[in-house]
Amino acid sequence: MLVLDHVTMKYPTGTTALNDVSITIEKGEFVFIVGSSGSGKTTLMKLLLKELDPTSGSIQINGKDYAKVKRKDIPKIRRDIGVVFQNFRLLKDRNVYENVAFAQRIVETPPRYIRRQVPSMLTLVGLGDKYKSYPKELSGGEQQRVALARALVNNPSILLADEPTGNLDPKNSWDIMNLLEEVNKRGTTVVVVTHNREIVNAMKKRVVTLKKGTIVSDVKKGGYIDED
């Protein structure tokens, strides 16, 4: 379970990115976070990954209060959260196999398991035959699949996806969304930050709309709400 309780985030520059935001996301839910640029979506993602600490309010993931987590324990929290970035953020000098295996090496998975699990994860995302390719040799959609495989290979309880279809054409976008839905059906909580109106409207999932750092709407089986 993921809980944000009256979270406010003010940057040192004086900008208030989030203002008194409270959201509870149950285990196994699929939630879209929507909003225009500057609405606070990216800040929200950074808070959930503990890249930033809120100015006030509390964040809890799976019962762990972020405020009480010591710096040395941050990696443990992040290992339970799979993350897919908008611009993929793959390790450019490592091939597809190594990019996915890297997530397992971090958690000290025995090499024999890595050799078994990475290929099966790559097959799941449809890249079983491209394991030797380097990121620059892949299309945007393929790179996003690698990022997804990397995020899922450790079976995280929560998957955060920041604009996972932001750089993709409609077909690749739907492929990725179908994969996310598949993952969600297996029990993983999925939080997707997106601009993609068509996908949000078609998937009929919970939609939380942010505007200027405040939640303006939170609808189960909702659609994309125009802010103006």
Partner: protein, 303 residues
Amino acid sequence: MKISTLWYCFQQGLKNIKRNLLFSLASVGTIVACLFLFGIFYAIVMNFDAIMQQMEESVAVTVFFDEGISEEQIKAIGEEIRIRPEVNTMDYMSAEDAWEYFGPQLFDGNQEMIQAAFGSDNPLKDHASYNITVSDVSKQAELVKFLEGLDGVRKVKSSEGTAKSVASINSLVGYASIGVIVILLLVSIFLISNTITIGITIRKEEISIMKLIGATDFFVRTPFIVEGITIGLAGSIIPCVILFFMYGMVVDFLSNTFSDLMSWLTFLPRGEVFNTLIPICLLIGIGIGFVGSVVTTRKHLKV
């Protein structure tokens, strides 16, 4: 941490060198250049120091005694002198030894003339002496003052001018060595930290990705440390090897070209210089690689 993870980090460190070959070569080059200069200077200073020491040893004080003094009294004075801390070596030359040594040099070595002039007399009968070398030429004046104050001592002969020159050259070289070594080390640290900072900045994104997907600081940092130490090691071995061969060639060249000066200009054997230079260079190289990678990764690990 598991052995397999440590092994992975070690392998990644070596692979990083290959992945960032240009940066790695630049770093090795910087360390090589700095340690090469350091090594040259170190060898010069060591040799200069040895020459100075040799010169110090050749600066001697000679003590002559009152006329008619007995050999026992001279020996008693000798014991008094020997315990002085300034004394390095001390040789006794009796009046007979002195005549035996200097006599044949008179009248261009003409024995007949010597015999005619002195017969069986020893004109140096009151010239028994102690020839003393000092451990530190700057203390010579102090010793001379002490010797002049001793009962039974007639005359103390010392080369005050030479002693002063050697002492001041010695202290000048001492200060200059410290100055140049400090400047060289500062320049090295600046150049190397600059090179490493550029390398780390290029990989800032990589470090941040690793951290965001749950890597610990240790996991991220270890390959960088392996990389830094390897680069430092390579950067220190290369100048040591070059200097090792170069030293022999330069010494041979100088010995052949300036053979007239070789009576007072003697170079240290290669082993003596490199026994200390090699460990110092390796330590500096490995140290720079280790500290450089730890310090520069630290600020990027706060993700």
